[in-house]
């Protein structure tokens, strides 16, 4: 069973109510798209954001990821709003 570390930043953290967690992934979660689908089913705040049409960004092991980026045991997966630095 794959375990990953999830990190949340900025208003996404405010909405989820925590900054990080370790979680066990079911076998059908193999990439960013399936991870996000699974998280939305588990986390009402994420499902609500999808309904509001608010964009979020995902990084796997500190690199920006796409829906088909693989997610595997030991990965660090971060979910956050579009960035606003500079």
């Amino acid at each position: 069973m794959a375990r990953v570390r999830l990190l949340y930043f900025a208003w996404l953290r405010d909405r989820i109510g925590r900054a990080e967690e370790d979680t066990q992934l079911p076998p059908e979660v193999t990439d960013v798209a399936t991870l996000l689908g699974w998280l939305r089913g588990r986390e009402p705040a994420l499902a609500a954001l999808a309904g509001e049409g608010r964009a979020i960004r995902i990084a796997v092991n500190q690199e920006f990821a796409r829906p088909d980026t693989a997610v595997a045991d030991g990965d660090e997966v971060a979910l956050f709003p579009p960035v606003t630095g500079g």
């Binding site: 930043f9 405010d14 964009a55 500190q62 971060a78 956050f80 606003t84 630095g85 500079g86």
Partner: protein, 154 residues
């Protein structure tokens, strides 16, 4: 030669310019620079901004900025560059970010400066929280203009 720092304290723009010029040797002819400062933007509903807090993703931020710097070095004929980005709470008028680029000629220095700040705004994991005098807060939304500005380098 690239210098990248994430820090909570202030920076000395003049010292950074001098250090970069020095490190580039006798071939440097021009340095471009951009310094971003906290603007007293009227918040939603005319609330008065008290503090802007820069949050970042430690680890990924450094990697993302290193990748942006490498992209600048591939695109422009640079002798060196410097990126200093502050995090944590900042008051109105306080400097947030300093970007420097040094080259033999001014076009490369100024173009690279614009490139670095455009990509920093869209590709480095920083977020801005605005705390208002009335105790409320919100998060700065990403701007389409910033995506457009970054897109002109594609």
């Amino acid at each position: 030669m690239a210098t990248v720092r994430i820090q909570t304290g202030p920076f000395d723009a003049g010292a950074e310019l001098a250090a970069l010029a020095e490190s580039c040797g006798v071939g440097v002819g021009g340095l471009g620079c951009f310094m971003g400062v906290v603007r007293a933007d009227p918040g939603a509903g005319g609330r008065a901004l008290r503090t802007l807090t820069l949050e970042h993703y430690p680890g990924m931020t450094e990697r993302a900025i290193a990748a942006i710097v490498e992209a600048a070095e591939r695109r422009f004929d640079l002798l060196g560059c410097t990126v200093v980005h502050r995090v944590g709470p900042l008051g109105i008028g306080e400097p947030i970010v300093l970007v420097l680029a040094a080259a033999a000629h001014r076009a490369a220095a100024l173009d690279a400066t614009g490139f670095l700040i455009d990509w920093l705004k869209t590709r480095a994991p920083f977020w801005k929280r605005q705390d208002y005098a009335d105790g409320s807060y919100d998060w700065v939304e990403a701007r389409h203009e910033d995506e457009d500005a970054a897109g002109r380098w594609d």
